[in-house]
């Protein structure tokens, strides 16, 4: 199964990269842009056919290694 983890900075924590990018987009004429947040998209291939198991294991991976709980929140999406 392919699983995607979307990692974003926790709310309230400064995101200078996101705000610099938002500004750059606006100065290119994309006036409709509000906030921009730049996080990570991690694709993991897990050898199992069980969606729940895949999700559970990846959740464990996030906790142990893939994300930094001090700064980041994550969301897991099982793709296929």
């Amino acid at each position: 199964m392919r699983v995607r983890v979307n990692v974003q900075r926790r709310p309230g924590i400064a995101d200078p990269e996101g705000s610099t990018t938002a500004q750059a987009l606006r100065s290119l004429g994309f006036d409709e842009v509000g906030t921009v947040a730049i996080g990570r998209a991690i694709l993991v291939e897990v050898e199992t056919d069980d969606q729940d198991e895949a999700r559970g294991r990846v959740e464990e991976m996030c906790r142990q290694l893939l994300t930094n709980p001090v700064l980041e929140d994550f969301e897991i999406e099982v793709l296929a």
């Binding site: 200078p16 610099t20 990018t21 750059a24 100065s27 290119l28």
Partner: protein, 217 residues
């Protein structure tokens, strides 16, 4: 220079040491008339946010830089400047994070591969020089046909192999030029190697080549 550029004074100093007159121009300027050539110095334009060089290439000054390049004037990008030229499509390819995902600041050996460029015209093909590298995103990928490789990473003896490739660049590419040779870019910093008290003066050869290319407009 762009907000976040930080090697501008070093480059100006090196150009002056090699006999050129250098002036710093802010990225919002739209006029380069009166200049014979341009150097985009290293640093972290716009914080290197999003991708190195991605935001900088939209600065007003870049249209002028492109015009100068099209007119055959010398245009040189060093480190972050090289990344900007790639993002702007003035040189082919792109630069990614170093193979081992660490910033790397140390002298490296380079082998001159072509002398058909404003950066290498005073060097010899096969010549080995030593110049500091100072980058996190120096891993070059995907040159396109038409552009030329001017510098490769190598060992002290000129041998190109995996061990002497500091950042994983494809074919150990350290510097590129366009076909005409008037637009060139490299990851290492020749301006940091213009005096032997700083460890090496091999960079003077490259900066000197650039200065020699600046015949009056």
């Amino acid at each position: 220079m762009f907000p976040g550029t930080n090697c501008e004074h070093d480059v100006a100093y090196a150009l002056q040491e090699q006999g050129a007159t250098a002036e710093l121009v802010w990225h919002t300027s739209e006029d380069l008339s009166g200049f014979d050539g341009v150097v985009l110095p290293g640093g972290f334009a716009h914080g290197d946010y999003l991708r190195t060089g991605a935001i900088a290439r939209f600065s007003p000054i870049m249209e002028e830089v492109a015009r100068m390049a099209a007119g055959g004037r010398p245009v040189l990008g060093i480190c972050n400047g090289f990344q900007i030229l790639c993002e702007a499509g003035m040189l082919s390819g792109a630069l990614m994070k170093n193979r081992d995902r660490s910033f790397l600041c140390r002298p490296v050996h380079l082998r001159v591969e072509s002398t058909n460029s404003i950066l290498t015209r005073e060097a010899r093909v096969g010549q080995v020089i030593q110049i500091p590298l100072n980058s996190y995103e120096g891993n070059y990928v995907a040159p396109a046909a038409g552009d030329q490789v001017i510098l490769r990473y190598c060992g002290a003896d000129g041998e190109v192999d995996d061990e002497s490739n500091p950042n994983g660049s494809v074919d150990a590419i350290a510097g590129m030029a366009n076909a005409a040779g008037n637009v060139a870019g490299l990851m290492p910093h020749p301006e940091r190697a213009i005096e032997s008290v700083l460890g090496s003066d091999d960079g003077a050869l490259l900066i000197g080549s650039f200065v020699a290319s600046l015949q009056p407009a």
